[in-house]
């Protein structure tokens, strides 16, 4: 077989490194920032080989939260898998639901009424606010601010969670969308609540940026740390804010224009250096764009049914075939690839996890940095283990 010369070879291979004993440099210290570590956002493990404090090699180890999502998906009906998608990326259940519903609608050719499309956009943008605010809070927690930015972020998150709870019934596990629409209609009070939250979210962001963005220590810790080149990002399949931070203009809301995104005008912020500071700032700017979308979508919500009348809840058997549906989740492109053989259970149920693919370049970004930077770079990649290990 003609061995192809890789354009971007992966820096190292194999789980461990043979101990190098160098009289001048001393030993290489192999540290396992293991499944239990304060800032690995869950059960993620990095086998780090240190020369003093600088990283010589970093091998991520996955699988500590592999909950067999795809095997369960094959043994449950299409509707039965919807609540499982909430537990994929357990910070953004609405966008997971939407991605799965989109893929099944594409598989079965199921139309969706107008009001449901608008509701889906509103809820997806609220989820994006939720995710980016949490990211900024956790990133500051990793740099060492003792919880204050995280507390402010969660104060705003609680308001949005109240919205989700009053609409879908559960704070984090909404299980809200069905194939062909949504489950519960949004009452006028709920829409008024969403409007007030969107209005004063901008004020909260200004105060939040005042605390963080200008902070010299924050800038010193994140600027120039974990830089990523656009070409490597594209080849490594990086998507979401992490890709746009390197300057590549690829946002599925503009590229695929799925749902009714083509009716709203919003801009896509792009960074130049692709380092941790850019990834943080791109998410802050994307939050401001999401507020703009919400302010356009909330008043324009049309009346009408939220569920396509011909949509079936039980006994849903899409015709044999396959479909790959994807949306721009807060962490990147989340996609569902379904192969149906006509039976009520999918034959193959595959989730395309943005967090796992974004981790491909973790080692490239961390080589040569110190262990304190590796923690922040991992924080800026924004992974959630439920989605990484599925």
């Amino acid at each position: 077989m003609s061995g192809v010369e890789p354009m971007f070879p992966s820096p190292s291979s194999g789980a461990h490194v043979n101990a190098v004993h160098d009289p001048f440099h001393g030993d290489l210290l192999e540290v396992s920032m293991g499944p239990h570590h304060p800032s690995t956002h869950g059960v993620f493990r990095m086998m780090v080989t240190l020369d003093g404090e600088t990283i010589v090699k970093l091998k991520p180890v996955f699988g500590y939260l592999h909950r067999n999502h795809e095997k369960l998906g094959e043994n449950t009906s299409y509707l039965g898998s919807m609540p499982y998608t909430d537990r994929l990326d357990y910070l953004n259940s609405m966008t997971n639901n939407w991605a799965y519903a989109l893929a099944v609608e594409k598989l079965a050719g199921q139309p969706v009424p107008e009001r449901a499309e608008y509701l889906r956009v509103i809820l997806a943008e609220l989820t994006r606010l939720l995710n980016h605010v949490c990211l900024a809070g956790f990133l500051l927690q990793d740099t060492g601010a003792s919880g204050t930015p995280l507390m402010y972020a969660f104060r705003e998150r609680e308001k949005i969670l109240d919205l989700f709870e009053s609409l879908s019934g559960s704070r984090m596990m909404c299980n809200y969308q069905r194939f062909g629409g949504c489950r519960v209609d949004a009452s006028p009070e709920w829409l008024a609540g969403a409007q007030t939250i969107t209005n004063n979210f901008g004020r909260f962001l200004d105060e939040y940026e005042e605390l963080i963005t200008g902070n010299e220590i924050m800038m010193a810790r994140t600027q120039g740390v974990g830089a990523l080149t656009p070409e490597l990002a594209i080849s490594a399949g990086i998507t979401g804010p992490m890709l746009r931070a390197t300057g590549v203009n690829y946002d599925l809301r503009k590229v695929d224009a799925y749902g009714v995104y083509s009716r709203f005008d919003f801009r896509v912020p792009l960074g130049d250096h692709g380092d941790t500071y850019d990834r943080y700032m791109i998410r802050i700017l994307e939050m401001r764009e999401s507020i703009k979308i919400l302010q356009q979508a909330l008043p324009a919500l049309p009346a009408g049914p939220i569920m396509d009348p011909k949509a079936k809840i039980r006994g849903f058997r899409p015709k044999a075939g396959e479909a790959y549906g994807r949306i721009e989740g807060p962490k990147g492109e989340i996609g569902f690839y379904l192969i149906s053989d006509g039976s009520p259970n999918p034959y193959r149920y595959r989730v395309r996890p943005p967090s796992l693919v974004n981790l491909t370049v973790l080692e490239d970004m961390c080589l040569g940095q110190t262990i304190a930077d590796a923690v922040i770079i991992l924080g800026s990649v924004d992974i959630v283990l439920g989605e990484v290990d599925r």
Partner: protein, 215 residues
């Protein structure tokens, strides 16, 4: 100037520190055991079985043991065992009832798919979440007696939804009675058209075969 960003940060935390003494926006704590949050109406935790009245909850369960929720439940935490004999339900029709109806709350993921697929409005989502216990096997496996709760309790926790459900059930019972009257009076004239079963055809399609016995 070097320290300006740091000073701005200090200003924000100072505003929050001072604000927490007078501005409710800056002190958002809900002192849990004393102040309890008012749960939104749609909130759902674990399911419960609706019974017509509080006097005899076991006797007037709406559930007819059709086992649709048991098949549809993704984590399969419901276990139903049908009875051999029949007993009259609210509309007086002879229906099977569940002898055993177990829900294992240590497996249930409160996704309310059982509520969605139940054609008899027999199972609804409860709002009790303070059920931390010391022993796992007896306290977390709720059986029929612990699950059955009266319709009045359902009105208490989900007022608007309960009102809708009752209106729909009332309309069906009226329709069923007229049909029974119509079928009873002109006996020879028209063969009783296979009217839709007396179930509440919530989703438009026919209930699963084998589930509810034909009238």
């Amino acid at each position: 100037m070097l320290g300006s960003g740091l000073l701005q940060g200090l200003k924000v935390t100072a505003k929050n520190l001072v604000g927490s003494f007078h501005d409710p926006e800056r002190l958002t704590t809900l002192e849990y055991p004393e102040q309890k949050a008012k749960l939104p109406e749609n909130y759902r935790n674990f399911p419960f079985l609706v019974s017509e009245n509080a006097t005899d909850p076991m006797g007037t369960l709406r559930c007819v043991g059709c086992q649709i929720c048991e098949k549809e439940c993704p984590p399969q935490c419901i276990y139903i065992e049908k009875s051999k004999d029949k007993k009259p339900d609210a509309t007086g029709k002879m229906q099977v009832y569940p002898v055993v109806f177990d829900i294992d709350t240590s497996v249930c993921m409160s996704c309310q798919i059982c509520v969605e697929v139940c054609p008899f409005e027999a199972i609804k989502m409860d709002q009790v979440f303070e059920i931390a216990t010391k022993d796992r096997f007896t306290a977390l496996l709720l059986d029929r007696n612990q699950l059955a709760k009266p319709n009045s309790y359902y009105h208490e926790i989900h007022p608007t939804e309960a009102a809708e459900v009752d209106a729909r059930l009332l309309a069906e019972r009226k329709a069923a009675e007229e049909k029974a009257k119509a079928a009873a009076t002109p006996k020879p004239a028209v063969a009783p058209t296979p009217s839709p079963t007396a179930t509440a055809p919530k989703p438009p399609e026919a209930p699963a075969a084998g589930g509810t016995p034909a009238p």
